[in-house]
């Protein structure tokens, strides 16, 4: 257990509403990530952060924004949720300061956009 907590674990929302998912870590690791998992696609990187206020886009960043105002928290926001954003969202951290090595994942957030 790498001390990663995701909240909420489940969320049902309506198209067009804003949604924020939270990832919290207890071990002050530099790198944090948001992935989404969909059948047939595996995991796809949405955004990642390499420090407070330092973030970068992944391969499926459109429609998502992130913020990291504290080392321990990484927030993912869907400004206006769409049905295509129904997915399972995973937060991850890297124990390495170089990032992208040996990631540890949270338990996931199941998001349904109706």
């Amino acid at each position: 257990d790498a001390g990663i907590t995701q909240s909420p674990r489940h969320k049902v929302t309506e198209t067009g509403t804003p949604v924020t998912l939270r990832c919290h870590q207890t071990e002050n690791h530099r790198y944090m990530y948001w992935y989404r998992q969909d059948p047939g696609h595996g995991l796809r990187l949405i955004h990642y952060s390499y420090g407070v206020k330092d973030t970068d886009k992944g391969e499926v960043s459109d429609g998502y924004s992130v913020s990291r105002s504290k080392t321990e928290d990484f927030l993912l926001t869907l400004e206006s949720a769409t049905s295509s954003q129904t997915s399972v969202y995973f937060c991850a951290i890297s124990e390495s300061d170089r990032g992208f090595e040996k990631l540890f994942f949270g338990s996931g957030t199941q998001l349904s956009v109706l």
Partner: protein
């Protein structure tokens, strides 16, 4: 991702049988990672391979990296029901600035 192809997509094996899952990259690998996921849960890190020809084992699971073929294989010996789940390979690729991308996963079912 399309850069990582896993095969097979799914398989069902009888308890006690051996099995192999493959992960092939279309781009140059920096590192190759294997994860296991149980239904409804997060991913559990299994192994990391970084050098051509490297082989690692954890209990009855062995992973190898063939640098020439840009391919990794995960082999489970004498499968047990506890091995059931989704196995995902992830890789850091030269073209993507070291970002970690994943294959689509292999669903493994073990029949008792």
């Amino acid at each position: 991702s399309q850069e990582l192809e896993q095969s097979p997509q799914s398989l069902i094996v009888q308890e006690g049988k051996n099995l192999t899952i493959n992960c092939t990259s279309s781009k140059t690998l920096y590192g190759l990672y294997w994860y296991k996921q149980k239904y409804g849960e997060g991913l559990i890190f299994l192994m990391m391979l970084q050098k051509g020809g490297e082989e690692k084992s954890h209990e009855k699971i062995t992973a190898k990296l063939d640098e020439k073929k840009q391919q990794s294989s995960l082999h489970i010996t004498a499968s047990q029901p506890s091995h059931a789940g989704i196995y995902l390979c992830g890789a850091t690729l030269m073209e993507y600035g070291n970002k970690l991308v994943f294959g689509a996963g292999t669903i493994l079912r073990v029949k008792s």
